[in-house]
């Protein structure tokens, strides 16, 4: 019952790479939803989507379903592909013990609705009181792909 690791959801990425899903990281509504550490440990090999276990419980923050990324973009620097977007902020509210987030495609309905793309742990619980919770995406981006 912990959210200790970040990762890519295999089933979604397989479908993306096999052209079995029409996920568009830039044009679609890619949302970020917050979860507490009370959730069942994510399984990046088998988890499928937002609203499917374990991503159907222990969500925090308003609105339910999370906040859509804005200004998503891909870029490349000396062979490293980067996916980035504007920082994501939950407007003035009280949020208790956000431990990590799920990034998913809110636009896609088939073959799997709202497919899970990426899970990101924060490593600790974060709370705000009548305040703003902001994920300041790393300068390296939300995720990168690097040949080695």
């Amino acid at each position: 019952m912990t959210f200790t690791a970040s990762g890519f959801f295999y089933l979604t990425w397989r479908d993306v790479l096999m052209n079995d899903t029409a996920v568009d990281f830039v044009a679609d509504s890619i949302k970020v939803a917050l979860f507490t550490n009370a959730m069942t440990t994510p399984n990046y090999d088998t988890n499928t989507a937002y609203a499917a276990a374990p991503w159907n419980a222990n969500e925090v923050g308003t609105p339910s379903g999370g906040i859509a990324l804005a200004s998503q973009a891909f870029s490349v620097t000396t062979g490293t592909l980067k996916f980035d977007a504007n920082d994501t902020a939950w407007g003035s509210q009280t949020i208790t013990n956000a431990r990590g987030c799920l990034i998913y495609d809110d636009t896609i309905a088939t073959p799997v609705a709202k497919p899970a793309i990426l899970g990101v742990t924060f490593g600790a619980d974060f709370s705000v009181t009548s305040g703003v919770l902001t994920i300041v995406w790393d300068a390296a981006g939300i995720f990168t792909a690097t040949p080695f």
């Binding site: 890519f8 924060f122 600790a124 705000v128 790393d138 390296a140 990168t144 792909a145 690097t146």
Partner: protein, 73 residues
């Protein structure tokens, strides 16, 4: 009670800057909640407590990485 103008004049004589009530900065206390190496990246998080009682948080998780082995030859 002295007017803001009088207070500003007195502050000026003392070489100070007077800030009328309501325009003072919302004093904050910043606490680092988490700062840790994780998977080759650094997770950083801080909490900012404001004078009016509201609390903000800022989280910077490291970019999640895909490493792709390429075949050569």
């Amino acid at each position: 009670m002295a007017s803001d103008e009088a207070k500003a004049y007195r502050a000026k004589l003392l070489g100070l800057q007077f800030q009328p009530k309501g325009s003072r900065p919302n004093a904050t206390k910043t606490t680092v909640l988490h700062d840790d190496d994780r998977g080759g990246g650094r997770v950083a998080g801080r909490q900012v407590e404001h004078k009016d009682g509201h609390v903000d948080a800022f989280i910077t998780p490291p970019a999640t990485r895909i490493s792709a082995q390429t075949k050569e030859g």
